[in-house]
């Protein structure tokens, strides 16, 4: 098989994965609607639209991290940390502009992400240890700096909460539009820039990437920094959507949501393959499940088990597809 054919085949298999995710969304929607016709309502669509911005924004970064062959468990704590820091500023200065809050939160997240990136790339400590450590470190620090106090709804500016309610464009909430912008920007970045392509290269084979003259450390540092910045932004999205920031709740366990979204969206856990479209569909799938559960009368207690189950299911399905492809290739014989 020539290189070009291989590339086409790889492309086809990625589309195959995205169609799989889409099918799962369709099946869940059909089953839920047949049991409870009320599911297909404006309320559900609104609930889905309000659920997806945070996962989409952060999973764009997580996708890059997983593509590069690493993992980031600390996203939830980064969301919480930047939200609390900016929340404290907003509480003390009611005149603080909303756009500045978003910028500041993104910068704080960027700093946290850079710290992760530094440890993983320059000190070459395994990603799992670094981010398991910072998951707890950042969460602990936010309690120490924030004094463990919640930022109450009356301290969050009205104009910020309005971002999660309406916009001039078809009244789609602003935060959804933000998420769409981030997704498109990531798509452009991954498809048309050198750095974007280099992430795939590092994830497929970091040795080969190094021999090709790609600075592997730089790429890994970059993906962690981007993930941190996006988590920081998501911290303000949380504040806009929920109208409060709580030191122990905000972002807690969020890493499971994001990792399930990325993996169910078809990103290979071995790195090197995955797409923005797949990840966005993964977020939609989680949102549909999240919305369908209460409609079906299933208690919210099931949420966490379902995220775990989805991760395992997606892994097993991905492996089965891979094995089948391998078998087909072997059956046809490898022609070089």
């Amino acid at each position: 098989m020539s290189g070009e054919q291989k590339a086409i085949k790889a492309k086809r298999s990625i589309y195959f994965k995205e169609i799989g995710t889409l099918l799962m969304i369709a099946v869940i929607t059909i089953i839920t609607t047949s049991i409870q016709p009320a599911f297909l309502s404006a309320g559900s669509i609104r609930s889905i639209l309000l659920y997806i911005p945070m996962p989409i924004i952060v999973s764009m970064g997580m996708m890059m991290v997983i593509l590069s062959g690493n993992i980031d468990l600390s996203v939830g704590s980064m969301v919480g940390f930047s939200a609390i820091m900016v929340g404290m500023i907003i509480r003390d200065n009611p005149e603080f502009p909303v756009w500045a809050a978003f910028v500041l939160s993104t910068l704080i997240g960027l700093g946290l992400g850079m710290f992760n990136g530094l440890l993983v790339s320059v000190l070459s400590i395994p990603a799992i240890i670094v981010t398991l450590g910072t998951l707890n470190l950042y969460r602990g620090l936010l309690f120490i700096i924030g004094g463990g106090r919640q930022i109450d709804p009356n301290h969050i500016p009205r104009s910020m909460i309005a971002l999660a309610q309406k916009s001039p464009i078809f009244n789609i909430p602003w935060i959804v539009i933000f998420a769409a912008i981030f997704a498109i920007a990531t798509w452009v970045f991954m498809k048309y820039t050198h750095s974007g392509k280099e992430i795939y290269a590092v994830g497929s084979n970091s040795q080969a990437a190094r021999l090709r003259g790609i600075s592997v450390n730089k790429i890994i540092f970059m993906v962690y920094s981007i993930t941190g910045a996006l988590s920081g932004f998501a911290g303000m999205v949380y504040a806009a959507r929920n109208g409060y920031i709580n030191p122990s709740n905000t972002g807690y366990g969020f890493e499971f949501v994001v990792i399930s979204a990325v993996i169910v969206g078809g990103t290979s856990i071995n790195g090197g393959s995955g797409s923005v479209l797949g990840t966005v569909l993964g977020c939609f799938l989680l949102a549909v499940i999240h919305t369908a559960l209460p409609v079906l009368g299933v208690s919210g207690l099931w949420q966490q088990a379902i995220y775990g189950f989805i991760i395992i299911l997606a892994l097993v399905m991905d492996k089965t597809v891979q094995n089948n492809q391998m078998k087909q290739v072997l059956k046809r014989g490898v022609r070089v």
Partner: protein, 333 residues
Amino acid sequence: MMTKIRNANKSNANRLRILKFAQRPELVTFILLILCFWVSTIISPYFLDAGYILDSTTLYNEFGIMAIAMTFIIIAGQIDLSVASMMTLVSCLTAMIFHAGVPMGIALVLGLLIGIGLGMINGALVAFLDLPPLIVTIGTMALFRGVAQIFIGDHSLSDFPSWFVGVDKFVIPGTDIPWTLILFLILALGMGLLLSKTKFGRHVYAIGTSENAAKYAAVPVKRQKMILFALSGLFAAIGGMLTMSRLAVVRYDMALGGELDIITMALLGGTDINGGKGTMLGTVIGMLVLTLMRTGMSVARVKIQYQMAIMGALLIISIIIPNIVRYIRDRND
């Protein structure tokens, strides 16, 4: 002339031996242990009470026992993030089986079997489907705790028989040494011998050093991984039962984030996160360091969230130190 050379050789050999000893990763941990002790006594004079320290080990013996299995898993180049969730699920199910009318003794045996079963789910996914253990156990970490949450909901279960409750209060007569500490040490000794003296243990090191090489050397890699994850499940079940007995109550959120402490214990003891290196002695010292540190912080009234930050930093530092030691050693060579 000859004696001179012999003497030189002898002193050289001695120097080498000392150097080799100084480079053992456990030594760094041991120094840390002494440092912890020293700092804690400065912070609070009450800390220097053997009874208090021994009593406080009962809080961490459970994690220590799980760290024993974790040492095997990390040496084999794997990771198990789901231990704390397995422990919680086993405790919740055991409590539910007991409340369904089964005698406590039988419920405990069933609990141990459930633990092995949960571990084997991880093992099957990792060994036979060839999936990376990191993501698999992130998934089962959410799944197992989630299942516990489904079964038991937001409330707690208690009312265990009186013989079962308070295992941490049993001490060797006439001393302050709790039985759970003895259990931990016996398990550590037994598993340490298994790791260092048997074929099984050599296979663990072989898989961690190079899985492919191990496969070509006819090491049953799949079976070995399966056994290791089942072992982790079993030890999580033992830890869960000790916790259940100590607290006399189970909830779905017990030992939340416990995997951090467990992995830190193993890594503090010099076990290499990349696999292939590590000893049980290191893990035992790592467990003692963690116990002293946590106890010292509690005595000094450090808030639990502050402790969380410190433990997170400690985990990262526990990796940086061996890296620096290795760097210095490589430069000396």
